[in-house]
Symmetry: C2
Subunit: 261 residues, 2 copies
Amino acid sequence: MPPDARYSPQVANKDPLDLRLSVDRGSPVPLYFQLSQQLESAIERGLLVPGNLLGNEIELAGRLGLSRPTVRQAIQALVEKGLLVRRRGIGTQVVHSQVRRPLELSSLYDDLEAAGQQPATRVLRLETQEAGAEAAAALGLAEGARVRLLERLRLTHGEPVAFLRNYLPPDVLKPEVAELERTGLYRLLRGAGSTLHSARQSVGARSASAAEAELLDEQAGAPLLTMQRTTYDDTGRAVEYGTHLYRASRYAFNFQLLVRG
Amino acid sequence: MPPDARYSPQVANKDPLDLRLSVDRGSPVPLYFQLSQQLESAIERGLLVPGNLLGNEIELAGRLGLSRPTVRQAIQALVEKGLLVRRRGIGTQVVHSQVRRPLELSSLYDDLEAAGQQPATRVLRLETQEAGAEAAAALGLAEGARVRLLERLRLTHGEPVAFLRNYLPPDVLKPEVAELERTGLYRLLRGAGSTLHSARQSVGARSASAAEAELLDEQAGAPLLTMQRTTYDDTGRAVEYGTHLYRASRYAFNFQLLVRG
DNA sequence: TACGTCTGGTTGTCCGGACAATAACTCGGA
DNA sequence: TCCGAGTTATTGTCCGGACAACCAGACGTA
């Protein structure tokens, strides 16, 4: 194989008919979404190889009995996910990225669970307080407003991984200890009706104090990853502020960024 | 002001005529993009307050002499940036987020420059090598293929902040020391014709070895932030792999994540 | 008061068509 | 052989229209 054959645009194309694309007009699921999902699953399963894609939009529309705008909308969604690239005059290609898991606002609990790490949570504290300056500023509340304070220890295989301190506006979520030990905070927030939208994070590092080391089963002075995060729902309201500590020996953040604009 | 007045949808609206929205049909800039930028700048400058927005799409289209799809495309772009929220049956509102800088694939150089930190770079090493297993895997090359190795020290105000080691496929960029000391790697990559698309990052922490401490002007054992990153262009090709060390006492990662799908 | 119903307003989805911009390919001429 | 012009294919932008889905508030009824 020539050294850069994998970057050539002339990769042979599967016959699109093999993809079994079809839409169900009786379904309440939007047509563009049906198509978009079928294309995505075809890519995930390797039915569509990096290279030239389903010919052109117009023909694809014709074969599916859809209009071109609808097909474009389906393709556009995948372009924004980073699965496809459009090239004017050329066509639309599948991106040949090895790793194309798009990244989401990640939840430590879900991450650990997905990695088969059997996460567990110990709730250390759950109470309502008056907000200090830091939490109030992060949540956009007045200083002294009531906030729920939550402190948890996250473990895998019985060993501590992280110490999590969160502040919640009281009307957003009223968590119970049993729930918190069973699942992650993000899942609870979503379950309570918040549609999470974005988060601002700051990741740093520092040495563990004696108390922190004790809590996390490390030596004093051991390196810790620190993370502060404010999460916003789709109206821009802050629904959670957290300041967390991770054992650097047992955890690292993995994420994928997309370029915007 | 009642406690949650800022979340009420009934915020008085500026007269949209004050916004001086208009489009230039002679310009080569797409109409939807012109409108999108004008709306964005109106939001940035506070002319549009969180609350009810420019009435409805149809009326806005009529006033500007555009079609509704074009207006929708402009609004959609801002929704994806997290500046607006659409609510069926209600209208489109400006998100009331304090911080709404959308985030991009960040460049340390640009970040420091934007923060007024006067970044400087010292090139420690620049040579072509055979790729080791790690770099080859990250770049998707065969082990032993030629790669360019680049080691830099990044400083602000004369003090070291980070040690940067990068691997580049030789046909992507042929950087020169003078360029590297004048600007950041991302800017050079873009200048060389790569359109950067996404990056996978891993952020962790560890204690500085004696040699690392010496280089970064820290004490041995001091906490360091570590970052590995592979950057991909819009065809999914890896254009850069880097493994970096930051002084935790002087730097932290700040970024904003958007929820996907 | 409490609750279901109706109504108006707004975004969501979808269609069919038109022309512009861009890139690859073909082909003729030097 | 090399190079430039023309041709063709494909996505990019834009239009006008239609109906569906959904939400809030007003209204009527129990």
